[in-house]
Symmetry: C2
Subunit: 543 residues, 2 copies
Amino acid sequence: MLHLCGKPHFRYSCLMFLVWVFQLVGLNSGFGLDSGLNQSLTYIWPLPCEHTSGNETLTVNPALSLSIIGHGGSFRILREGFRRYKRIIFKFSSGISVSRNSRRIRSLYDISALRIIVKSGSDELKLGVDESYTLFVDKTEGKSIVWETIIEASTIYGALRGLETFSQLCAFDYTTKSVQISRAPWYIKDKPRFAYRGLLLDTSRHHFPVDAIKSIIESMSYAKLILMHFLSRYLHIQNCGMVLTQNGSAIPSRMRVELSGIHVMAEVDVPGHAESWGAGYPDLWPNATCREPLDVTKNFTFDLISGILSEIREIFPFELFHLGGDEVNTDLWASFVLTDCWNKTRHVKQWLDKNKMKPKDAYRYFVLKAQEIAISKNWTPVNWEETFNAFAKNLNPRTVVHNWLGPGVCPKAVAKGFKCIFSNQNVWYLDHLDVSWDEVYYAEPLEGIGNASKQELVIGGEVCMWGETVDTSNVQQTIWPRAAAAAERLWSTEEALSADNNSVLQRLQYFRCLLNRRGVQAAPVTNYYARNPPSGSGSCYWQ
Amino acid sequence: MLHLCGKPHFRYSCLMFLVWVFQLVGLNSGFGLDSGLNQSLTYIWPLPCEHTSGNETLTVNPALSLSIIGHGGSFRILREGFRRYKRIIFKFSSGISVSRNSRRIRSLYDISALRIIVKSGSDELKLGVDESYTLFVDKTEGKSIVWETIIEASTIYGALRGLETFSQLCAFDYTTKSVQISRAPWYIKDKPRFAYRGLLLDTSRHHFPVDAIKSIIESMSYAKLILMHFLSRYLHIQNCGMVLTQNGSAIPSRMRVELSGIHVMAEVDVPGHAESWGAGYPDLWPNATCREPLDVTKNFTFDLISGILSEIREIFPFELFHLGGDEVNTDLWASFVLTDCWNKTRHVKQWLDKNKMKPKDAYRYFVLKAQEIAISKNWTPVNWEETFNAFAKNLNPRTVVHNWLGPGVCPKAVAKGFKCIFSNQNVWYLDHLDVSWDEVYYAEPLEGIGNASKQELVIGGEVCMWGETVDTSNVQQTIWPRAAAAAERLWSTEEALSADNNSVLQRLQYFRCLLNRRGVQAAPVTNYYARNPPSGSGSCYWQ
């Protein structure tokens, strides 16, 4: 038998032949940048505020080193972030031996060092924390001290966003087996359009193992989302415990959240959706057969809410707290839930009569009392829009109104001076599987708000992953890639996007493949129903 | 505002209250062993050959130590396996600080040490490697040297299977925040029913990032599957490269495969399904417009196959090699592919006439020649059943016949003395989404084979994950949990299963939740179509 590869008249070894087939055939469903992608596009998601690029291709040293300059503060978060991104960037070249980062080795690569300059000494992760950064990537030739890549940011969280952008510029080249940055030099100046860029995760309908939640938080940082709204209606804090409670294992998890620069906001939904509380304390139910809304008449109810919120306060450092208040006061629910349960329980009915209240007044009373409790614990309360729709003039002026029922609510809320979060269910409820990526993408949180000072009251938006038909098996492909469409809407300015020459779909398809490469099960972009399988064979980039 | 938790008349702190609600309500979709599971069942998947258990609950020390005794050989694989399983077992208690494994700390736990005894000094991973093990879990009281848990095995691979079983006995208890083993003492004696327990992964229709492939290999070890049949029809070895090629990063990946004790078998499918080769060497095509089957007339064709197989041989140490040979010789294909392409290409037609061959003779000639090449490289050839169906008497007697078209082929193959792999597409093709878990489960590889010596020729079976509608976003929930149903059929003896009292569904549902906890996106078990979302809210265990 002939051993073909030994023959000198073959220019390539067989392995090279295989590589060659791979590249030529075009059947590759691969991820290399030579896969027929339009190289003139800027494959950064979400698109930065400003950027310029060139025509050079630079190689990046797997032994990339980090240097941080700044006014003190905790750089631990930044160093850990750098390590995390280094693992992502060099995942495919993990086996390439880098014995020492000697001058000789360094000279083989165009980029061997990353300098991060942080202006602020504070590492507090607040809503509206300065996430701006500039990123400069170039080759420095003939200089003894090389700082080819510089990220400059006000805060470590801006620097983390810059690292994410840097990681997206890096692509593994299958031919040279090295990480490359094409179209260098790059100059990127970036900052978010909205401070609040959220994802709601409903863990009340199905259990999510801790690792699944961690993976989702990690994936959010890839799209520069900044907030997970953590909904656990049945209050099984213990269930999500390892991430968010105070037990022994909470601290590393909290660190992890910090490390990704992601806020976590909790929701305790009262007075509706709280029936399960009564399993522990049946006194919370109006009566044994009519279990929600919670008994509005007892001090005990509010004492317990206060106690629970105190415990939660220590676990959730974030300044916003979601008090729910939804699905109680629509006409349907008003007549059904309130009348049915409060009116038909003798002691509640007596209390209502004594206080000259109708059920809807008691609902207002309950919501406002819960708001007071949250505010007393140094929280800013968030409520679903039903509370605003029912008694806007009574709401605490610090209330953040959380839109969901449809369009047009944020304009009304900001007109009355309230802050607002956009989550119009027609476009940003991820469990609505028939909403296509572009319907998500072209939703506009500021629609109907012309006045600049009023626009500022829209703090951002949130895509909502309700849990009826998602569990660990399919949550990631239900969230992604559509959450990314909203993420760009919330991060990128209209100016930046308008210069994008209709490349959105191609860029989003690229980003979905990037998510896949990073271990996130993002579904094909253009499927008719979200999270459907790919319709047939082919490249990740085109489906 | 009252701070409820400070009040002495509350027996529990609020956090405990939350825990309590969680446990009482029964709305928990949790994973704790107190979730209404039937505690009398043996939640080990696949079910071991023999086992006895008791009524004690033991706690396991997060600082569990390992001691290996044996006749030399590489224990690196075993130590790494132990570390991997320790991460899995103590995932939920990762934050619990274990300062030192002092005698005092050890005394807090029932199990603090694991002893593994390995008889063989060889760590060769061959088909039919001895995977038997015994596992003994008990509490040893009042003894100075404690060896509460012992795994005894002939080979390190048996020991790895024992570790998997041990890890499945361990469950995190949310109340005590410790890892517990219930129903101790355990005595388990186990070994596989079939040596070949495979999963085909088709990476030719969609690209799978390296991490996705690694995750699948890892998940296979949870179900004690032992072989990944790696199909890459378009030969983009480079594409899967990081796992399986010889480039710089291959070595760690190969180690990883070894570490899980999983074989990898490659397939190069000739002469059909190889059209893409001609992109590199158009001479391989009969003519420019008629591209498969490959040109049977040229030495070049077989020289190239030989060269490619030589390269692959160095990458794939496993003793079986799959030569395909499918979808050429069915009536449809015979008339279409062979006649159409070989008959209509002038120089091929002339060659056929000169050699007095019909296309089906040339197909046989091609397959047999490819077999010779594989055998010359010290491989045992595997062919899809079409080759057996068409010219059984010409096939090399070492050929392993790979069934797929339907039932009844293995009985014919073993009757003629061939080894056989069972993959009846009606039940074990995972892309057939309408095949329910129990149809997969109750498929029997030995059906129709009464003679014991003939039964031994059925080396096992393989579930096939063809790739038309799976990619990174949904491959895991298409594979799992149904692949686990086949895995138990291939591992567990009929005697062991018959004593199982119809608990299969409950045990499989438990195993799917176990997979979820370990980061595998296994779909609900009882959905009408595989990989459908859960139909509604509820516990992982019941859907």
